[in-house]
Structures are given as structure tokens and as C-alpha cells.
């Protein structure tokens, strides 16, 4: 009952957008314009304008505390819950303003997020992946099974877990948990995938699996990844944006930014003169 009411009211502001969750035809373009962000009186982002093209991987790099994660969390409005956090300027998803034109909860089905630490729900592997589709629709049992298999195959986890689908997702290894979290996010067919240092808690083999996945996912999603690891940015991304002290210093196609940085600060960071 409640859920139906919720869905009705939630889809209202997004009229014209996809009213129900259908498989994404592809990624959506994310555009940030003049974003200033404040935590109370402290300004954390200064006039950030950045285009994140559809179906490409954009890497956000920069030293700790430079604002790249904060910026990422603006895109799916995860900062809304933080008291005293507000921003000016606009962030749009295929031209729709995420703060005013799209409902908060609907936005998050279009913009999925993967976190630094794998955080599967305390549920079975199957239920973890099935969670989103169940929550946002009434899929048949067979459709659900297919979705779960498709998503787990997509992240290369199916063969490892197909006999243990009823076991708890928390019993998997760290790398498997992270791929499970990606599968869980994919199950609602988001247009955009936000990844906040998705491999920093993983071993090298799992890291390389997740990196391969990022490039692969860009074929039908827009992938935006925050990373500390510059090699990772060069391996997986098409575009790279360098943040420093809350400002977007430079953005360019990845190969260009790494081989011919235009700004002195970018060059210093890339060559390890400060971090």
C-alpha cells in the first residue's frame, strides 16, 4: 500500500522521465555547472563545472580532502542527509536538474553508487541483487532469477557463487563482496554509476577484476570513479578531472592530461611532488 503511494508521488516530479525502471538504453550525460558547496560556513567546493559524457569513464583524482568524493556525492544527493551541507550551481542528468527536477529516491535508481568499503546487505547473495528490482517493482519470480543471473554474470561472479545463492553476502571475500555490490547496483539498470574509490580496500587481483569491469560497464553506463591511484585512472578512464583544494584544476581526455598537463599544479601532482 505505502509502497504504491510512494511510487505514485515519487514519479510525479519526474514526469517525462522514465516512469518505471526499464533497462537503460545507455548512460546519461552528467553536467555540473558552477557548483559551490558548503559544510556550514566551510566551503568545500569552489565553482566546479565539469562535463561527464555518457558511456565514458570519468576519473576524479586529487589528494585527500580535495573535494572529489564530496563532488561525487552531490550527483546522487547523498550529501542531502548531512546537516548544514548545501550547494549552489546545478548538476544535471540528461538535462534534468538532479536537485529540483528529479525525485531524490528515483534519482538514486538512475544513479547507482559503489562505495570504498564493500557493503552488502545482511541478506543472501540472491536477495542482495534482487533487492533493488523488488523494491522498485513487482518482478515475477522468473524475471527476478534472470536479472540476478545477468547481473552476477556481468560482474563475473556468477560461476563463483551460483551454488551458494542462499548464503549470506557477508560471507564472501572482500573482492567478491565489492563485485556483489556492483551487481546489486546494476540490477536496477542505472544510467550512471558512481564509484568512490571502489578498489582501495581490495587486493591486487580483485582490483584488476573491478578495473576491467569499469571499462566494460562504460559500454552502457556512464561511469564516474573517484580514485587515489593514478595508474588506475590511466588504465580505466577516458577523461580525467584533477581536483585540488576544492577547485577543479584541470580536465582533459586521460591520455592528454597525463602526458601533457596544462597546469603546473596538475603536473606537480602527477609527478608526485605533492600528494
Amino acid at each position: 500500500m505505502d509502497e504504491m503511494d510512494d511510487n505514485l508521488t515519487e514519479s510525479a516530479p519526474a514526469a517525462g522521465a522514465r516512469a518505471t525502471v526499464t533497462p537503460a538504453a545507455g548512460g546519461a550525460e552528467v553536467v555540473a555547472r558552477d557548483v559551490d558547496l558548503f559544510y556550514g560556513d566551510h566551503q568545500a567546493l569552489f565553482d566546479v563545472s565539469l562535463d561527464m559524457p555518457a558511456n565514458k569513464v570519468t576519473a576524479l583524482i586529487g589528494p585527500s580532502g580535495c573535494g572529489k568524493s564530496t563532488f561525487l556525492r552531490c550527483i546522487n544527493r547523498m550529501n542531502d542527509r548531512i546537516a548544514g551541507c548545501r550547494h549552489t550551481g546545478s548538476i544535471t542528468l540528461d538535462g534534468q536538474d538532479v536537485d529540483t527536477q528529479i525525485d531524490e529516491y528515483l534519482l538514486r535508481t538512475r544513479v547507482g553508487m559503489v562505495f570504498q568499503r564493500p557493503n552488502p546487505f545482511p541478506l543472501s547473495i540472491f536477495d542482495n541483487v534482487a533487492y533493488g528490482p523488488r523494491r522498485h517493482g513487482k518482478p515475477s519470480r522468473e524475471a527476478l532469477r534472470q536479472t540476478v543471473q545477468r547481473c552476477l554474470e556481468r560482474v563475473g561472479l556468477w560461476d563463483e557463487v551460483k551454488d551458494d545463492l542462499k548464503k549470506s553476502g557477508l560471507g564472501l571475500s572482500g573482492g567478491q563482496q565489492q563485485r556483489l555490490c556492483i551487481a546489486r547496483t546494476l540490477a536496477v539498470d542505472p544510467q550512471v554509476l558512481l564509484m568512490d574509490e571502489p578498489t582501495s580496500a581490495l587486493d591486487p587481483i580483485s582490483t584488476s577484476l573491478v578495473e576491467d569491469l569499469m571499462s566494460d560497464l562504460a559500454s552502457d553506463h556512464t561511469v564516474i570513479v573517484v580514485t587515489h591511484n593514478m595508474q588506475q585512472a590511466t588504465r580505466v578512464s577516458d577523461y580525467t578531472a584533477f581536483f585540488y583544494m576544492g577547485k577543479l584544476v584541470e580536465t582533459a581526455p586521460t591520455t592528454e592530461l597525463f602526458s601533457r598537463p596544462k597546469e603546473k599544479q596538475t603536473e606537480d601532482y602527477l609527478t608526485g611532488r605533492f600528494s
Binding site: D6, N76, M78, R81, A83, Y105, L106, L107, R108, T109, G112, M113, F115, R117, N119, P120, F121, P122, L123, S124, Y131, G132, R135, H136, K166, K167, S168, L170, G171, C181, R184, T185, V188, K264, D268, R273, F274
Partner: protein, 331 residues
Amino acid sequence: MTRSDKAATNAADAAPRAGAQTGATRAASAMDADTAASMARRARRSDHVATGVLAVLVGVVCLLTVAMVVYILASGGTKMLDWSFLTSNPSDGGIGPEIFNSFYLLFLTLLISLPLSLGAAIFLTQYAPSGPVTTCIKTIIEVLSSLPSIVVGLFGFLVFVIKFGWQFSIIAGACALTMFNLPIMVRVIQQALEAVPRGQRDAGLAMGLTRWETTIHVLIPSAIPAIVTGVILSAGRVFGEAAALIYTAGQSAPAIDFTNFDITSASCPWNVFRPAETLAVHIWKLNSESVVTDAAAISAGTAAFLVACILVFNILARIIGRALEKKVTAA
């Protein structure tokens, strides 16, 4: 000077300084080798002494507690294992109705206090904005948890028994015990919810779940092992409570008849408006005003049974908590 220039000069400065420093440290350590060795010896000795003192203190405390439990169980053990003692009426020197009353009262108390404390804990951890009001409420709950149980009992007497006109009854006792139990349960559940990693909450929100859905589907399942353990342990406390019940559930245990389903009758076990003496109250009554000849033996047997029950609660809490934990983390 640009940043990189400065870094370079700093590095150049630092190199010889670092070299000099290690040289100096090495010289100093060679000179003071004996001192260092004797200091290490002394540190090890004081470590041994501290370990010894702590072991003795813990040993004494353990010995005292174990001795108490063993004494209570031993002095009433034979009586406790007597089936007719456990089933017969107080008029025949038994504690049958008291056992039933204790469990029934515990069940009713949990029925009232669990939803209340779960709701309160969820509100306090998830919804209440941090501020003076919330802090004040949390303090009040803490104060309430250290309220003397006799005060709770007399308050219950005035409000439930007199004002509401419920007389000495199970429901009055259950309400008094709820007041007694609520603060502890709220704290236990609050801590369990707060211990759920922040990442889990973020995962729920990032999936497009509302705060309520995140709480119900993500936080509570994660916290359930700790919640269950806490609830069973608090049940042990409630089970052994006497002072809060003397003036609420009353001190008489009318004979109950399990074939009687007329819930208005005083002998119907499920009637919540009948007076119901519990095990702990029975012990108190036997020792303060009993005229029965073998009061001491009955009291010892009752105490042994009570302690055995609470022991079982604790063991159950551990087993169930661990099993749930295992189920949640890895099946």
C-alpha cells in the same frame, strides 16, 4: 620560490641532517646499552607484577560469584528437583502457580516493552536531530534506568493499581516492569543500531531506499543478534525482580486451573486482571512474613529454581546470539 623548488631545497637540507641524526642515535645507543637492558628488565618485571595482581583480583571476584551461585543451587537443589514441589500449589508447599506467573508476566512485559523500546531506539538513533532536546531525553532514559525498583513499584501501585483501578493484577505488574525494563532495552537496542557500520546505511540510501526502509530492511537485520542477546539478558533481570511487583502484581497466588478458559475468572491462568505472585516475590514473602514451618527450605528451593532459570536465559542469550550472528554474516 615555487612549490617544487621549495620541496627540492627541503629535501637537500634534510638529507645530511638525517644522516647526522642516525649517527648520533647509534652512538648514544652503544653507550647506554646497559641502561637499556636494565630498563627492559624492569619493564618486564612490572608487567609480571601487574599481570599477577590482576589475576588475583579477577580470581577473587570469580570465586565469590561462583561460590554464591553454587551455594544457592546446592542449598535448594534437592528441593528444586522435586517434581511435586515445582507443580503443586503454595498451600501444599509448592511453587507451581508462581512459576507460571513469572513466565507469563515476563512474556507480557516483553510484549509491551519490546515494541516501545524498539520504536524509541530507532527514533533516537535515526530520526531525532542531535540537539539539547535529544540529549535531554537520552539523559532521562539513563536516569530512569537507575531508578530504585521499589520506587517503580510504589509508582505502579499509585497509578495502575489505585488510579486505574486495576487492583493487584498481572497487567499492573507488567506495566510496572515495563517502566523498569524500558530504559535498559532502549539502551541495548540503541547501541546495537549504532554499531551497524555506516556503510550499510549509505548502501540503503544509495539504493533509493527511504530512511524507514533502510532502518527496517538493513539496520534491524544487521543489529538483530545484538538486540536478541540484549533482550534475553534484560529478561533475566525482569524475571528476578521483586520490589517492583510486591505492590503491583500482588503477593497472593490463587490456585490456577489450566482447563479454565473464562478469562474473567481468578483461576484462569491467562486472566491479566488476577493477582499473581512471582517466584522472586514468593521468596521475599516466605522470608518476611511466612508462618509455614519449612519456609526456609521452600525459599531455598525457589531461589535455586530462579537462579537456574536465569542461568538458562544467559546461556540461551549466548547461543541464540551467536547463531543469529553466524546466520547474518555467513550461512
